[in-house]
Amino acid sequence: MTETRPAVAVDDLHVTFGRKRGSVRIRAVDGVSFDVPSGEIFGVIGESGSGKSTLGRCIVGLIEPSSGTVRHGDIDPFAMPRHAFNEHRRKYQIIAQDPNAAFNPRMTMLQSVCEPLEIAGIGSRAERRERALEMLNRVALAPELANRYPHELSGGQKQRANVARALVLDPTVLVCDEVVAALDVSIQAGMLNLFWKLRQEFDLTYVFISHDLRVVGHISDRIAVMYFGKIVEVGPAREVLQRPLHPYTEALHSAEPEISVAPADARQRIVLEGEIPSAIAPPSGCRFHTRCPMAVDRCRSEEPAWRELIPGRHVACHFAEDMLRRSDGVQRSKEEVSAAE
């Protein structure tokens, strides 16, 4: 590969909604920076209102940044002339959560998957058809479903067709925004396997957005944890989950109900108080301080610096060093226990 630049580079990105002069301005994404190298699966986890969907839409150029930059390799998509951007954006596709809202009810699945090619003016009618059928085959949708209408398919089948439609223009980057959230768990598992397979086959880079820690943790190489418009932690997926350096990540992990066959759950759960604060009046200092079990005065006044605590692990919390020491301790005692056994 000649490309050494990251497939997606986000630098100090801000997205603000609301009128410029108005008093009500909502900072959906508020100073976010990260790189996604080519071929990586970059997971973004966060709760509703954290700004993760806005971030995803900004990455593919559907929303313009208020400040900061999004770069696609060497390219700044927002600086391109309109027609050039329209051609460029084919390489950066997004798939959204609800497959029911994604299809025109009057078009067959095959027509829907052909449509991007028509708009792009690629190939003859027969070639487009062939390409679309191939894509439906690649996402393991039975060929007899190609001429069906959306209402005749199940949610899982529709989501497969949705993926086929995103892939038909041969993109390099796929932003997946809660793509398995609406599916039953047995169907979800098949979809996650499919995403993994497609990544190998099409040489794709994913930005995988979800509220589900299990899903993101399973599929991603690295994950970013978002809270209230900011990334609070980034690192390799398993490390972040096993050894969180931010109290929010720890709380998210702890809140996930685990399947445990022990009679009583020995794990200490952290139940956060309160809810995500109002977007109109963000808290001062660290935005998590209103719900953080560790918060002290400093957290209310001073915003924690974004820093690389250990190689590959970025975090923004005044207590990250303490978290690291504590988890080291836990790690060590675990090792001692297993050594003793």
């Binding site: 709760e47 509703s48 199940s154 899982g156 089948q157 039953d184 768990v185 047995s186 169907i187 979800q188 598992a189 098949g190 996650l192 396997n193 993994w196 397979k197 509220h211 820690l213 299990r214 899903v215 943790g217 399973h218 599929i219 398993r238 989950l241 709380a251 998210l252 702890s254 809140a255 996930e256 109900p257 685990e258 399947i259 445990s260 066959v261 022990a262 009679p263 759950d265 759960r269 139940v271 956060l272 108080e273 809810e275 995500i276 719900r291």
Partner: protein, 339 residues
């Protein structure tokens, strides 16, 4: 607590709710179709029963049948739903009105569609109280404020004066819980009460729900697709598939050693952080259409263990505390959740 006309049945003498061979047919433009095919389950006083299954398996329909919330013009119920010994299927509409909200309450997945947008939440809770108790408006309002306070709402008096639209999803679900438990019912049916909520809010709501139920001695029929929540909160669980109960038993034992391939399949579909990517277990195919149910085992066409005998419908076998609807459960060694 007083008992409503108890007439013990042979099956489960001590059950609060005892559903026997419940069938439900619904009518749509194509005619009648059977949605529940002989569902039997029981909930003991103060017990928390988890009802697990994927969309379309009939778990919500079972709940709606218990409360008789389906229109008699488009639905037909069969079998028996014994609540405190009384058959709810045979109960009059008037008797049902006296039971709903007083002895059996329900909370739904989407609180916004269960709350009336044009009345304050305080008014809606007070209305529930007044329906069942002879109380003046002032006293009922006071009970509503107390109920809001008991679900951990700060400034309950103020919140009582608000309309549902000005509350967050988590707050609305708290209001729903306050309303459901204000009359201290003996059974609460909770249908995916936290599915629409963020995971940190889900943890708050579950703690609240379990704490309150424990205090008031309310039994819960907890409908969910989330096996983690079942594992954390329920005493017993049943798995439903295509309108039937296919497995049931104490939670920890069932999860450690599922006996039905479908329960095991659900368990292994969940990403657990250990499995390599691309190797998640997924259940092939899809839930059969209500109008084209397999003649034999309903899970047969999707089951990796299906053999010839599975073309015959399996009966629900009772073994100790477990029930299993599978021809092959004795010979299959299914993997469960790890300790």
């Amino acid at each position: 607590m007083q008992q409503v006309g108890v007439r013990p049945t042979s099956a489960s003498r001590d059950a609060l709710l005892d559903i026997q061979d419940l069938t439900l047919s619904l009518r749509d433009e194509l005619g009648w179709v059977q949605v529940l095919s002989g569902v039997s389950l029981s909930v003991k006083p103060q017990e928390i029963l988890g009802v697990v299954g994927e969309s379309g398996c009939g778990k919500s329909m079972t709940a709606l049948s218990i409360l008789r919330l389906l229109s008699p013009r488009t639905s037909r119920l069969g079998g028996r739903i014994l609540f405190g010994g009384k058959d709810l299927i045979a109960a009059s509409e008037r008797e049902m009105t006296a039971i709903r909200g007083r002895h059996i309450s329900m909370i739904f997945q989407e609180p916004m569609s269960a709350l009336d947008p044009v009345f304050t939440v305080g008014h809606q809770i007070a209305e529930t109280v007044q329906r069942h108790f002879k109380l003046g408006t002032k006293e009922a309002n006071e009970r509503a404020v107390e109920a809001l306070d008991s679900v951990g709402i700060a400034g309950p008096r103020h919140v009582a004066s608000l309309y549902p639209m000005s509350l967050s999803g988590g707050m609305r679900q708290r209001v729903m819980i306050a309303m459901a438990l204000v009359c201290e019912p003996r059974l609460l049916i909770a249908d995916e009460p936290t599915t629409a909520l963020d995971v940190t809010i889900q943890a708050q709501i579950m703690d609240l729900l379990l704490g309150l139920a424990d205090k008031t001695g309310t039994a819960i029929m907890f409908i969910t697709h989330n096996l983690g929540l079942v594992s954390q909160s329920c005493d017993r669980m049943i798995t439903m598939y295509a309108g039937q109960v296919i497995e049931g038993g104490p939670v920890a034992e069932t999860l450690r050693q599922p006996r039905h391939p479908y329960t095991a399949g659900l368990l292994h579909s969940i990403p657990d952080g250990l499995r390599e990517r691309g190797t998640l277990h997924s259940i092939a195919g899809r839930v059969p259409s209500l109008r084209a149910m397999p003649e034999g085992c309903r899970f047969g066409p999707r089951c990796g263990h299906a053999v010839q005998v599975c073309e015959q419908p399996p009966a629900l076998e009772l073994v100790d505390l477990h029930e299993i609807r599978c021809h092959r459960w004795k010979e299959l060694e299914l993997k469960g959740a790890q300790a």
